[in-house]
Symmetry: C2
Subunit: 179 residues, 2 copies
């Protein structure tokens, strides 16, 4: 599975209005805490990979997932191979990873307000320490990467945003840059 | 969490009769497929650790769990630190581990008939390629390891089995020895 994702800095109130005009379907708001790891045998900063446990919660429920992200496969967008699955207990996965020599690298905390528009998910992200961003995202197989990216650019245009403002650095990367 | 476990070779029919006499509660029978991994940065055979994905199925249902087992912490039994949690999709965890450089080492397939006796689980294991075994197992915290081991020996005696026949090598180890 490939994750195609385009991200820009943007004021949420303006984008929210545009989403209403476009009749985007609200998918609700969640908080996400992402715990990133360093590997004992590779420098993820160099190999451009990531391993994380995410705890996602809304008012009713919480779910924990473990995610591996491979290096960028397409430079025009933030497209990566992704392996992600729900886990019963995120703390146990943390203990398992620690026992294997993976070390806690950093935590990214954000509030994510999601909308569905065409076949894309538009996320209005408020990231602690970084500010407001808009992400346009979809999943596809290998041959679908290029059309999915073109479609994501179109969604950005519809929202009054400019693909040229795209930020290819992850929130984790942006936070580490700030340190 | 520590897993205290004592294992002997034993004919199941005799033990099954003894379990009936002792009014042990049947917990049903499952099949377990255990997929073990080699690490890219450590020799698990040397460090005496294990990482596996288990697919456990009964007639109605299947569940997949990921498990890390640390080195033996008590020589008198097969006691290890264990981190285990359910995962949504075992195949995705396999892809995630492969991407991180973990390689498939071996698969252990068994049928496991479980009983509850006192605070122990007694498993009648039929392991493909190895034959019939009985495991007496419980979970405890660090201070409970010694009493839990003594209790497991008592359960073995009750079942007409001898703790001196204990096999400390894992099924994986036994299968690899046979190769």
């Amino acid at each position: 599975m490939y994750e195609v994702e385009v991200k820009v800095r943007a004021d949420h109130e303006t984008v929210r209005e545009r989403l209403r005009e476009l009749d985007a379907r609200s998918l609700g708001t969640v908080t996400q805490e992402d715990f990133y790891y360093d590997a004992p045998h590779r420098d993820f900063a160099e190999t451009d990979e990531a391993l994380r446990i995410r705890r996602e919660a809304d008012d009713d429920d919480a779910v924990e997932v473990v995610t591996y992200k491979g290096p960028l496969v397409e430079q025009e967008s933030k497209t990566r191979k992704e392996h992600e699955t729900v886990v019963g207990n995120g703390e146990t996965v943390d203990q398992l990873l620690s026992a294997l020599g993976f070390e806690s690298a950093a935590t990214v905390h954000k509030e994510r307000e999601r909308y569905e528009l065409d076949s894309y998910v538009v996320s209005l992200d408020t990231v602690t320490g970084l500010g407001e961003f808009v992400e346009v995202e979809t999943e596809t197989n290998e041959s679908g990467v290029e059309p999915a990216r073109v479609g994501a650019y179109e969604v950005l245009h519809e929202l009054g945003l400019d693909p040229d403002d795209q930020i290819r650095t992850s929130y984790l990367g942006l936070l580490l840059e700030d340190e």
